[in-house]
């Protein structure tokens, strides 16, 4: 008989739900857009080499939080960020931090695929070139091929690497954008609704890709699809009205969440 004692069962449950090592830590993160406050002191730890999903109704602050993680909000003049966000224990809002380098370490994939109006090859090679990660043609060839391989796109585009990236289908374009993000060897990849403009097949391919990428990268994904959050992530954070409502193991969040707002949101009972 394979019987586990109560203590052993408890321990097993504990280890399954442990968040693991934190790659990024947000402490009391506040964001103002001009007069309007969008985030009210969010404390959230992003575990290393796992997928964290951020969910919540529109305007809840999940994308705002995501954009804080690689200082994307710096590009908005009226935006002020408070609190601290650490990447491997280093404050990314420290004035000595090179934002360009930060964004290489913390890459981003957007809602709408946005390849550069260049060839597929150049889309990938651009990042490594400006960051000086490759210099010889053979090095560029290699980074282009491995990035496309990792993004699961290589076989589909290997014979037309010098055709424009914009000529690919939506799903292929999105995977091209993921390949472009991977090319500069990031540690964290942020995804802001990466599948909302894709059909179910392309979505499935991106989800499969996210699952594979988890082995080497830390991923944070914002999604409006509850099923997608449930499928791809290990941990889920629920936002509402600029506050973090609840954070926990995805399995628990979607079967037995603690907070009533989470329950109402994921079951389709919101206001």
């Amino acid at each position: 008989m394979n019987m586990l004692t109560d203590a052993a069962v408890e321990e097993k449950l504990q280890s399954a739900s442990k968040p693991g090592v934190s790659k990024m830590v947000g402490k009391d993160v506040t964001v103002h857009y001009g007069e309007k406050q969008a985030l009210f002191g969010v404390n959230l730890e992003v575990p290393e080499k796992q997928v964290m999903a951020l969910i919540g109704p529109s305007g809840c602050g999940k994308s705002t939080f995501l954009r804080c993680l690689n200082r994307m909000n710096d590009t908005i003049d009226i935006c002020r960020v408070g609190g601290s966000i650490m990447l491997d224990g280093e404050d990314i809002y420290d004035p000595r931090i090179d934002v360009v380098e930060l964004r290489a370490r913390v890459g981003m994939v957007f809602q709408k695929p946005n390849p550069f109006p260049k060839s597929i090859y150049e889309n990938i090679a651009y990042g490594p070139r400006i960051h000086g990660l490759a210099s010889k043609k053979s090095e560029f060839d290699e980074v282009v091929e491995t990035s496309l391989q990792k993004a699961g796109l290589f076989n589909e585009v290997k014979d037309r690497l010098h055709e424009p990236g914009t000529g690919l289908s939506g799903g292929q374009q999105q995977r091209l954008c993921i390949a472009r993000a991977i090319a500069v060897s990031p540690e964290v990849i942020l995804m802001d609704e990466p599948c909302s403009a894709l059909d179910p097949i392309a979505t499935a391919k991106v989800e499969e890709l996210i699952d594979e990428l988890r082995e080497n990268y830390t991923i944070v994904i914002v999604t409006h699809s509850m099923q997608q959050a449930a499928r791809v992530s290990q941990r889920t954070a629920m936002f509402h009205l600029g506050n973090l409502v609840e954070e926990g193991p995805t399995d628990k969040m979607f079967t037995n969440p603690d907070d009533k707002r989470t329950q109402d949101y994921i079951t389709g009972r919101f206001g």
Binding site: M226, Q227, F254, T255, N256, I266, T267, G268, R269
Partner: protein, 236 residues
């Protein structure tokens, strides 16, 4: 619990709940009727229980189909998901209760009129009463969403087990007294066993209902000793 933004979702969940209620009521009625038929040798009543089982099966199939369609259409989450999956399981237990009641009804003819001694009839009637209370209560608590009531309810099953053990001993005595009782008493033994099994299904339903309502499992029950096993060994 608030309502869904999509109101037809609420209607579909409500329908599944109603089916559980109906199946629960039917399971209770079948348990009662089959024991009454047994104790009063009422073959007509027994026949009705047998035909009721068809209705029970049909309700279970309807519930399964509705639950599966709901999962496909709505992708329920959290308490909704637990509710739908729990309903499928509870319906399976209720359907089994129907089968067990039908099985008791089928033995009515075989037991015959004379073979049930008064004291034994009393014990079986008692046991049926305990079982019936359990069946009715578990469905009530589920419908009214009273999770905490399910904990003592599950523990009540022990009384049924004790009653079963005592009936078992009683029947053994009758059979040893007069071997001509053996056929009837064996049938009665199966009937008592069926009642005891109904109690076990109630326990399953209570566990499922508790999970549906709270999202956590009832604590594991201590292992029970099968006392009939021991008395067989002692008697042999």
């Amino acid at each position: 619990m608030g309502e869904h933004t999509v109101s037809s979702f609420d209607e579909e969940l409500g329908h599944i709940d109603r089916l559980i209620r109906e199946m629960g009521d039917l399971a209770g009625a079948m348990t009662r009727a089959s024991t009454n038929a047994l104790l009063s040798s009422d073959t007509a009543l027994a026949q009705r229980v047998i035909s009721d089982d068809t209705i029970m099966d049909a309700k279970q199939r309807e519930l399964d189909e509705r639950a599966i369609t709901l999962i496909a259409k709505r992708q329920p989450m959290a308490q909704d998901l637990r509710g739908v999956v729990g309903a499928i399981r509870m319906a399976a237990d209720l359907e089994r209760i129907g089968d067990l009641a039908k099985n008791i009804a089928k033995r009515v003819g075989a037991v015959g009129q004379s073979a049930t001694p008064r004291t034994l009839a009393h014990s079986i009637d008692n046991m049926a009463g305990l079982v019936l209370d359990q069946v009715n209560a578990v469905v009530d608590f589920y419908v009214r969403r009273e999770a905490e009531q399910l904990v003592p309810l599950r523990d009540e099953d022990e009384k049924i087990d004790i009653q079963y053990t005592s009936i078992f001993r009683e029947l053994l005595t009758y059979m040893m007294e007069d071997p001509r009782n053996i056929t009837a008493c064996t049938h009665l033994l199966f009937c008592a066993k069926n009642l005891e099994r109904i109690g076990d299904h109630v326990t399953n339903i209570a566990e499922n209902a508790y999970y549906v309502m709270t999202g956590s499992q009832l604590p594991v029950q201590r292992p029970k000793l099968d006392e009939t096993q021991m008395s067989v060994e002692a008697d042999s």
